[in-house]
C-alpha cells in the first residue's frame, strides 16, 4: 500500500510527468500562501472523491461512470468552496475561480477513472494522498520561486490561511524584488518552463538511454 503512495508522488507525479492540472499550477503559484490554499483545496477534493468513488465502484454502472465521477467531484468542490468561504474568505477571494474549476482538473478525474474506480478504499486513499502531495510539491516549489523573485519575500500572508499567529512566518529575502516579471503571467510560463527543463534534465541524467525512449516527456522529440 505505501507503494501506491510513493508511485503517485514521484513516478506518476501529476504535475511534472503527466502535465495535468497545468492551469491552476501556473495561475495560483504566484505566492506560497495562494499555492498552499489551492493545494489543500485540491487535496480535499481528490481524497474525498477517491474515497466515495472507490466505495461506490460496484454500484455505479459502467456506461454512466464518467458523469457519475464528475458529479461526485463537483459535490466535493462545492463543499470546499463553502468551507473556504466560511473560514478563509480573504484567501478564497484571491483564488476563487481556480478553486471552483478544480472540478475540471483532469488530474482528479484521471485518478478516479484509472485507480479509484477499480481499487479498494485503502489503496484509493493512498493513491489520492500521493497525488495530492505530488501536486502540492509542484505548486509550492513554483510558488516559492515566484514569490521570492517577484516579491522578495517567502511565506507572506500565511495568516490568511492559518490565522494571525502565522503572520510571523514571513521571511524577507530581498528589499527590492529581483524579477517582478515572475509574478506576472509570462513569468509563470517562463519559470515553469525552466523548472520542467530542470526536472527533465535530472531524469535524463538518471535514466539510461534505453529508458529514455519510454519517458513520456521526451516522446515529442522529432
Amino acid at each position: 500500500m505505501p507503494n501506491d503512495f510513493g508511485r503517485a508522488v514521484i513516478e506518476n507525479n501529476p504535475a511534472w510527468t503527466q502535465l495535468l492540472g497545468l492551469c491552476p499550477l501556473l495561475a495560483v503559484s504566484n505566492t506560497v500562501a495562494n499555492a498552499m490554499g489551492l493545494a489543500i483545496a485540491s487535496a480535499f477534493v481528490v481524497i474525498g472523491s477517491n474515497i466515495s468513488i472507490s466505495l461506490l465502484r460496484r454500484i455505479i454502472p459502467d456506461i454512466a461512470r464518467l458523469p457519475c465521477f464528475v458529479l461526485i467531484i463537483a459535490t466535493f468542490t462545492t463543499l470546499t468552496v463553502m468551507m473556504l468561504e466560511a473560514y478563509a474568505f480573504d484567501l478564497y477571494s484571491r483564488i476563487a475561480l481556480f478553486v471552483q474549476i478544480i472540478v475540471t482538473n483532469c488530474m482528479i478525474l484521471g485518478r478516479a477513472e484509472v485507480f479509484a474506480s477499480r481499487q479498494p478504499v485503502g489503496r484509493a486513499v493512498m493513491d489520492a494522498m500521493g497525488t495530492a502531495l505530488g501536486f502540492a510539491i509542484a505548486l509550492l516549489t513554483l510558488g516559492a520561486i515566484r514569490e521570492a523573485l517577484g516579491q522578495g519575500t517567502l511565506l507572506n500572508d500565511m495568516d490568511l490561511l492559518f490565522g494571525p499567529a502565522a503572520a510571523s512566518l514571513r521571511i524577507d529575502l530581498f528589499s527590492t524584488p529581483p524579477l517582478s516579471l515572475a509574478l506576472l503571467p509570462p513569468g509563470a510560463f517562463l519559470i515553469a518552463g525552466l523548472a520542467f527543463a530542470a526536472v527533465q534534465g535530472l531524469r535524463n541524467g538518471v535514466n539510461t538511454p534505453k529508458d529514455e525512449a519510454d519517458n513520456t516527456l521526451t516522446t515529442e522529440r522529432p
Binding site: T78, V81, L97, Q100, I101, V103, Q200, P222
Partner: protein, 192 residues
C-alpha cells in the same frame, strides 16, 4: 455599445484566456501540435463555450436565484456543459457528417476544458447581462482560437528545430508560451 466593444476586446486580447488568465491550458499544450487540429479544436470550443455561457446565465438567473440554490452553481454548470457537448455531438452526427468527422474526437474533451467553466463562472461573478455574457463568451472563444492557431503554427516550426534534450517537449513549449504571453502583455492598459 462602447461597453460591449470593450468587453469583447478585453476578453479577446487584453485578458486573453490562455495567456493572461491560464484557462484552457490543457488543450493549448496538448492539441496544438499541428495547425489543423488546433483550428478544429478551437472551432468546437467556440461552439460549446458560447452556448454554455448563455445557457448557464439563463439557468442561473431564472432558476437558481429564485429558488435560492446559487450554491449549486458549479454542479449545475458542469451538467449543462457536459449535456451541451452530448447534444452537439448527436446533432452534428445527424446533420453534418463532415463536420462531425472533423470535430468528433475533440468534442468530448471540451467538457474538461476549464476555459468553458471559467467563462460561465466569470460572467456570473461579474454580473453581466445576457447580451454582455454572449459578447464576453464570443471574445473569450475568439481569443482562445487566436492563440491556439498561432501556437499551432509556431509548434510546427518548433518540431523541426534541434534542442538540448532537457528542453525538448514540454519545457520549450512552456517557454515559447511565455514569450507569446509577454507579447500579449503589450495590450495591457488599452481601454482602461
Amino acid at each position: 455599445m462602447t461597453e460591449l466593444g470593450l468587453i469583447l476586446f478585453s476578453a479577446l486580447l487584453v485578458n486573453n484566456f490562455v495567456l493572461a488568465q491560464f484557462l484552457g491550458l490543457c488543450p493549448f499544450m496538448g492539441i496544438t501540435r499541428s495547425f489543423d487540429t488546433a483550428f478544429a479544436t478551437g472551432l468546437a470550443t467556440t461552439f460549446v463555450l458560447t452556448l454554455a455561457a448563455v445557457t448557464s446565465h439563463t439557468l442561473y438567473h431564472y432558476l437558481l436565484v429564485p429558488l435560492n440554490l446559487t450554491y449549486l452553481k458549479i454542479i449545475v454548470f458542469i451538467i449543462v456543459i457536459a449535456g451541451l457537448v452530448q447534444v452537439i455531438q448527436l446533432y452534428l452526427k445527424a446533420t453534418s457528417p463532415v463536420l462531425h468527422q472533423v470535430l468528433g474526437v475533440y468534442l468530448p474533451l471540451i467538457t474538461s476544458n476549464c476555459a468553458v467553466l471559467g467563462v460561465t463562472l466569470l460572467a456570473i461573478g461579474q454580473e453581466l447581462t445576457l447580451l454582455a455574457t454572449f459578447v464576453f463568451a464570443v471574445g473569450a472563444a475568439a481569443g482562445f482560437n487566436l492563440v491556439m492557431v498561432l501556437f499551432g503554427a509556431l509548434r510546427e516550426q518548433l518540431a523541426q528545430s534541434d534542442l538540448p534534450a532537457a528542453f525538448a517537449g514540454t519545457p520549450i513549449t512552456l517557454l515559447s508560451a511565455g514569450l507569446m504571453s509577454l507579447a500579449f502583455m503589450g495590450f495591457q492598459g488599452i481601454g482602461s
